[in-house]
């Protein structure tokens, strides 16, 4: 096998049930990838992450370049060994973070030069460097360096940016070293403009990638805008390659995007929320900081099999959130990731059973229902 494999196991409407095959194992899709920015999914051990059902994690090239540095990770055996995650890893290109540095970075046709906020060192990211860095990290799935437009953006600026992203995509493809089980994903840009999204998709398909990401979304636009872009984009992408919607999202976003043919997701929401006392449940979000939970002996979600729901009451979770205890972050991150993985498994099973719409309707109704009444 050259590159990574993708098997389309079934579909239901535009929703797809598939399997991605990489050097470090398979990923059942639709799949949610927890974010492990600095080579750790915050507040979780790798065993904890795996116990939630996750099969792949995302790590951030930008953060790892700055600290501990790519040379160091390479010397210590590569990212899988370093972070003790023997399963698939997808790394971003670092572009998204570098672009948001503003005055601290300088863009050119070649790439981006920027200053490390940790030690002041000057660093460079070009399409070639981004691909090489990810190869050295040992990423199963490498992302091309792209320019992610902000939202909203004028169409001529979006077109200029897209042209650069396309030229960088070509250079990324040329720089990528083909190896069995390792793949390179292109990133469709074009903001909210259907013709630009179409142009981007066609240009990337002409270059040829192992998978196609949809970037430039989850940057502040309304959900219906995102869905409209997906409606205009996913039908342009090859059916036999995985599709990855970057940085998305809330449970409702995942359901709607799967409905539109997306296979892979990543988002900091479940992990970040877990560190601020917010939990995701089939009945919407619950803020454990709220005093109404203080005397509640019930679990956060009686149907959830995570450690937080099996062993602790809402009253305890409220206490440790209020007390600023580390276990609050640990338990709520575990719960939120378990919830996300359970949702994805539900979506996969529903697609396989040809009842995606029924599942989606039930899930949406549950989310709209709101939390159980206070005791």
């Amino acid at each position: 096998m050259s590159g990574i494999g993708f098997t389309l196991l079934g579909s239901d409407g535009n929703a797809r049930r598939g399997r991605v095959t990489t050097a470090h194992g398979t990923i059942e899709t639709p799949a949610f990838m927890p974010v492990g920015t600095q080579a750790t999914v915050k507040a979780m051990t790798p065993d904890d992450v795996r116990a939630t059902g996750a099969e792949i994690v995302l790590a951030n090239t930008y953060h790892l370049m700055l600290r501990p540095g790519v040379d160091r990770i390479e010397r210590l055996g590569g990212l899988h060994t370093f972070m003790a995650w023997p399963r698939p890893i997808l790394t971003d290109s670092g572009g998204y973070q570098v672009m948001s540095l503003g005055a601290l970075r300088k863009m050119s046709e070649t790439g981006v030069v920027f200053r490390s906020h940790i030690d002041g060192a000057m660093l460079e990211l070009t399409p070639e460097i981004a691909v090489d860095v990810q190869r050295r990290l040992g990423s199963d799935i490498t992302m091309v360096l792209d320019e992610c437009t902000s939202y909203p953006v004028a169409k001529d600026e979006a077109a200029r940016s897209l042209a650069l992203t396309t030229r960088w995509a070509k250079r990324s493809r040329q720089a990528f070293v083909e190896r069995d089980g390792y793949g390179l994903f292109g990133i469709v840009q074009g903001s909210v403009f259907d013709d630009l999204r179409q142009e981007s998709a066609e240009a990337l398909i002409a270059i040829g990638f192992d998978g196609y990401a949809i970037g430039g979304l989850a940057v502040g636009e309304e959900q219906d805008v995102m869905f409209t872009v997906l409606d205009a984009t996913t039908p342009r992408l090859p059916a036999d390659r995985p599709r990855y919607l970057m940085g998305v999202g809330r449970p409702e976003d995942l359901i709607g995007a799967v409905e539109r043919g997306v296979d892979m997701f990543d988002c900091v929401l479940p992990t970040r929320s877990g560190r601020t006392g917010q939990a995701f449940t089939p009945r919407g979000t619950v803020n454990l900081r709220n005093a109404r939970h203080a005397d509640d002996p019930r679990p956060l979600d009686a149907h959830c099999a995570c450690v937080a729901c099996r062993q602790f009451s809402r009253g305890y979770l409220h206490h440790v959130v209020k007390a600023g205890e580390i276990i609050a972050s640990m338990l709520l991150t575990s719960h939120n990731l378990a919830y996300y993985q359970t949702l994805m498994r539900g979506l996969r099973d529903a697609i396989a059973a040809g009842r995606f719409q029924a599942f989606a309707s039930e899930a949406r109704a549950g989310l709209a229902q709101g939390d159980i009444a206070a005791v």
Copy 2:
């Protein structure tokens, strides 16, 4: 059985191998109790704590009175259910923390009145209240309210304080409700004065307790001073009751105290150090923040079976400590508690085998040897 049981299984010199029996299970002694101040051993789930080998944890009555409050814990099923620790729990009386409040508390013969730093409420601790609060928490082992003298202290002040502590001990004993599997420990005070320690021990024995703690140590005195006090105290205590040295200590302290006939210990050192990048090993302490670990592919301790040592390199631990990641606290706390429990198991096995001195010599030599050379 009324109270808690203690079986002396063997001895080697003054070192004792025993077993404490409580309502929630047995504790092999010599035993180390991890500290779970706010109903959580910081950065650990109960399963994590258990995996280190711990059989009992300590929780702090003072902190729990303030937040979430004893009424609340009682309503939520008691402390064992609340913190999901179904094994033995020892609670302190809250006295030690209250005494250190300085101007915020007012002492009298009756007890102590103090102001909550969390919500400003006025709270009271008397010998009777402290015993009642611990009963309501469901503690297997209740500690009497005592006055812990600072160090150094004049002898007349130590004598005055000890007399109060003894009167409080009598009131505590009278207030304690006898229940099978639940016990009350007295606390020997008297600072560094042999005759006061002797007087304290005799007075407590006359009252009669399920176990005898040695308080007022680990308050800044040198190790040889502590050992001298132990030499003067443990021979005065009944052989058929467990002895608990409060707030101790470093690995060398534990070895020397076991040598002098102590059975139980608690200390924040392994957990607190775990949150600041410091690790305990058979070759002494290791500061993972030190740059010499940055490129080290070796585990922290090649002979340790904890998750940090099985799965991660020193280079990774250095990275997550420097990056301020929560996993650093999780991994190093796991390691430190595993180290402490392994040390206690080693001491127990050595006493049982009649080779305590050989074990202690080897352990001390290892600790003095210092960390492995840098790569």
